[in-house]
Symmetry: D2
Subunit: 372 residues, 4 copies
Amino acid sequence: MGMIGGGIGAFIGDAHRRASRICNDFELVGGVFDADYGKSKEFAQKEGISADRCYESVDAMIAAELKMPAGRRMDVVAVVTPNALHYPFAKSLLENGFHVVCEKPMTMTVEEALDLERLVEKHRRTFALTHTYTGYPMVRQMRDLIAKGVLGTIQRIDAQYYQGWINSIIHGTESRITGVWRLDPKHAGVSSCMGDIGVHAFNLIEYTTGLEIKEVLSDLSPVKDDIKLDLDGTVLLRFGKNLKGVIRSSQVCGGEENCLTIAVYGSKASLKWGQENPNYLYMLSDTEPAKIFKPAHGYNEKLAESSHTMPSGHPEGIYEALANIYKGTAKSIRGEEFTPGEFPTVHDGVRGMKFIHSVVESNSRGNVWVKL
Amino acid sequence: MGMIGGGIGAFIGDAHRRASRICNDFELVGGVFDADYGKSKEFAQKEGISADRCYESVDAMIAAELKMPAGRRMDVVAVVTPNALHYPFAKSLLENGFHVVCEKPMTMTVEEALDLERLVEKHRRTFALTHTYTGYPMVRQMRDLIAKGVLGTIQRIDAQYYQGWINSIIHGTESRITGVWRLDPKHAGVSSCMGDIGVHAFNLIEYTTGLEIKEVLSDLSPVKDDIKLDLDGTVLLRFGKNLKGVIRSSQVCGGEENCLTIAVYGSKASLKWGQENPNYLYMLSDTEPAKIFKPAHGYNEKLAESSHTMPSGHPEGIYEALANIYKGTAKSIRGEEFTPGEFPTVHDGVRGMKFIHSVVESNSRGNVWVKL
Amino acid sequence: MGMIGGGIGAFIGDAHRRASRICNDFELVGGVFDADYGKSKEFAQKEGISADRCYESVDAMIAAELKMPAGRRMDVVAVVTPNALHYPFAKSLLENGFHVVCEKPMTMTVEEALDLERLVEKHRRTFALTHTYTGYPMVRQMRDLIAKGVLGTIQRIDAQYYQGWINSIIHGTESRITGVWRLDPKHAGVSSCMGDIGVHAFNLIEYTTGLEIKEVLSDLSPVKDDIKLDLDGTVLLRFGKNLKGVIRSSQVCGGEENCLTIAVYGSKASLKWGQENPNYLYMLSDTEPAKIFKPAHGYNEKLAESSHTMPSGHPEGIYEALANIYKGTAKSIRGEEFTPGEFPTVHDGVRGMKFIHSVVESNSRGNVWVKL
Amino acid sequence: MGMIGGGIGAFIGDAHRRASRICNDFELVGGVFDADYGKSKEFAQKEGISADRCYESVDAMIAAELKMPAGRRMDVVAVVTPNALHYPFAKSLLENGFHVVCEKPMTMTVEEALDLERLVEKHRRTFALTHTYTGYPMVRQMRDLIAKGVLGTIQRIDAQYYQGWINSIIHGTESRITGVWRLDPKHAGVSSCMGDIGVHAFNLIEYTTGLEIKEVLSDLSPVKDDIKLDLDGTVLLRFGKNLKGVIRSSQVCGGEENCLTIAVYGSKASLKWGQENPNYLYMLSDTEPAKIFKPAHGYNEKLAESSHTMPSGHPEGIYEALANIYKGTAKSIRGEEFTPGEFPTVHDGVRGMKFIHSVVESNSRGNVWVKL
């Protein structure tokens, strides 16, 4: 495995490396860890990565690796750069026959996303988009329970993603905004809150229910006058005639840590899950006691069960969720059989970009309905 | 105290009677407990209420009571009928000098609500609207903490009221809809979900924050084609330039019992409360451990403390919350000093009616912003 | 109903009065509310109780009430004095034909307890001991589920009652101990912690399981050198050959409010309940998702269901639990049919006294097994 | 790193490997993975471990590795065999200069434990005993808060370790007992429940409080007549004159997963932690709202903070806890500075063996006090 981005100080790159080691199907052998070659080399040395595979640029990396024999060459590359660079790097990698693991949001525009989808199809490569939360066993259990129809007719869907960390930045000093790439349209794209976290809530809805959101109406807020992107917003959802829902997402909910939740309400039963206690899945019913599903039990569906390794009551966390996605990706790369849902694909990326852009468009056009 | 409605089988009438006995400032001496005089008398006998004060009509009750001496006469009457009857009865009572305790929603129209507000003002009577949840000690603590400014600038407000009980009705047999007055516009008014429960979430927001919602944009759903009123909906809220929020309310969230929650997020700290565990108030902060406020502690503000009678850890519930409102109402009737917030007033009723009608209007005009 | 004790400043007397009003089967008509007649009269006036039924002594009360006609005479008296006075007053009341509601611990000695049991039998009176926690719907549900055998063979029982309020007293100034009757053997009896709260845990075990504790081995602690009674302790329990358990009880668990919990573990399933969130009963199983039982659902057993009046999700609390016991007591007094378990009896009082004295004996004899 | 035991089907060996990869300071290069050499080789191949370093016996491994140059030779070996083999293998390893990571319970007897302690001292090797739970950030925070004195005088300590998994075995068929090495004295030692899990509770108490348990009095139960070891028990603890506590531990609490909890109550404040939600540490106080400490916050002490890598709200779990212990072990092996508490040592193992043997002795002598 190679990596682009994720050098010193980048927490998401570290998460990818840990996850790849947990699942034990990957070995990081090289990459371009920083735009600054010096820093990149410093990082490689620290990680024990051979200096000759720490490259000055992505082009250089591709060229050099392609010259290596198949067994030695990196066959998959993780792209964990700021958002704006996902597309060009992923495109080059796919065109040169590399499999790709890519952070979200996948691209800056819907067009770029569609282009990647075409490239994946054309070059028949594995492309995994790391919507990490789909790697949790109980999220997978939720998906399978819904697929089995235990909820009856779905009647309402409600997802939330609240964080508070940006408070300390926007209420800080002048330099606060430029110092954070997520607040800069050049690097983050058209949205901060919806692009960074709202899209996770969106993905979780489509992942667990198998439904497609058809239309959105949003109301976004920059919260402070001098902020250029949304930090807060609510999105009304329509799935069909009698099924509506809502996504609420905010980066200014002071004290909230990483509060992603989803609730899917059906005519027969309902399911609720929250990321901060990921090993608890609640099923509600009007006629029976509420039930709590937990990992490592024979009553779970197959994919959920294979996504937890310790005995019940030994909590696994977010690294293990990401490792589950890496594990599914490895199966796909090796051409082994795998279940849809073992890792998010380029199609999830396309859907995510459509969501982000539709939400921003709805807001800028005065809170009107926009089709995805 | 007298009562209109609340006879055999009416749970809300029973709740009012219990609450009035808990607070021990009222004695139920008569009323019109059922539109059917026979049933009303049956109920009076069962409750040990003197037969001669079980009246055939509200007019008869008013006439007879007015002839009694001040000490014996009922000085306050609780109106716990279906929604459509709140206004005419409350109007007659006020015009004849009775204090009124009224269930919500207060009236069918905004005009009626404004008329009651005028009558309360003119006749200088006490009018208590039983938004019961404002009687919980920790809701009052939330109000006082916000008033003290501990949250900094409020940046987002999110309230939810989810129930599931209507599922068994709408998915039942044909007779299902006519048998439930809440689904019949004649008795329930323009809205089911927003009128019955959404308005509680609205009230809780204005009660705890002291802020006024300026505009709403709603998307409502009848969920089933043959239902005439909303059973589910989301309402976008605007309080001012950079403060937005959302109310989510539904009666088709299968398995949800009475899940009213409120979260108010500020630049310095945030507060979260939920009705099903009403004695826990959570304060979140980016820089300190989260805190859990509970009743019967010296650290609480004054009104919260006087709203709990047992030592800490002895849970009081919804009857005690309603009793707290009755207690405040009694103070007002007796002309004693009381704190604003000890009971919801006719003004809360006016605000509630504006909310319900604005929400319905927004939805029927195609999900546009409507000013309250 | 009459009352002995429970005047100004006595929270438990107030609880009894509220509970009796909630259940609406009792009216407080007189009593001896304070050893100081002046204070007693002051209290009676405040409560609106007729001055001529506010008596100077219990003897005077009994004499005067016996002269009244049956319909007017108080037929039941609540004894809510400090522990040492329960026995003489209850004895007089029973011997004169009054029904009795008595606070726990029932007496000072086992002999007194057995004497009361004989008197209740002899005079065929209703005697209710207010182990309030048995009035919670989910405690009753626990009892009925266990009686139905859903747990299989019971394998372990664990109850806890932790409070922290005494910390502020024992770490305070000199006058601290004499000022609190619970710390004074003359008023509280042989035990503080076990007598005041440990006995509740004991009662809850026997109430929910229907089992009898056969032997105890205890280790108690006064925590501070100058305290004369136990403030903290653990009691090993034996029910039979292969069934053991434990009661842990303490008044020095700083920050604990009223943390009474019980867990009963069986070969097929287990049940857990805690007093601070009394409307949640957890059933665990090795082969199924955990279940959460809540009040006001058709899936509950009969007694649990009749012990909750509001729709599900409307939390009732400790006053309603006590009211449920009063309601059962009223049925018994009126000679109506009732279910065993609707109120704790004099037999529960005898068992409790045996527990307290056995625990104290075990500790003073060097932590040896003592038979109940 | 080498490994003894932990081959195919051994979950604890897999946990050690994952943890060592997460912390990224170790590479598994060889070992003796199974007593059956064929299975051991099969495992090595599956893991991608060089066949020539998959050894037939521990002696062979030690001999071969000692011949390698320092840079290539395994410098630390993880011993994850059944309990009876920990001592002989650890002894050989230490005597030949290897650092050791050892599963608990460390040995079969106190004498063996003391011998290992002497060997560690003599050969100046790093010896890490994997009491995994001490690797959780919030356990470390608990330790540091107590060390700072925030609890005042400690007044009661209560730890619990409840599991239910053995139910399905003891209530199963005849072959059930011989098939599970934990139930066989030859492999498990003198105790099942206390040796396997009770000792974790013991360790957690001494780890978090820095106190030593002086005496124990236990009551153990085999639960079924044909079981030879304890499956359930309670242990009374004495720390000093006025400080007592209790450990409750059971393997027959049906439905409990891995419910290890600890509560330390002080005169000023108290702390509570539970393993199944390891990222929540509760601080209770009589005078302030309860507080919830979570990882990745500036308010935590230093060791807790360095034990969590993701931003707050991204839950890390048990693999990361074990990785934290591996990380501390690596520091020690490399001779870097580390904080006491970064990994449990051979001394913790000695204490644990004393605990297990004292508890068993107390029980077999008729529940008497036994000094550790």
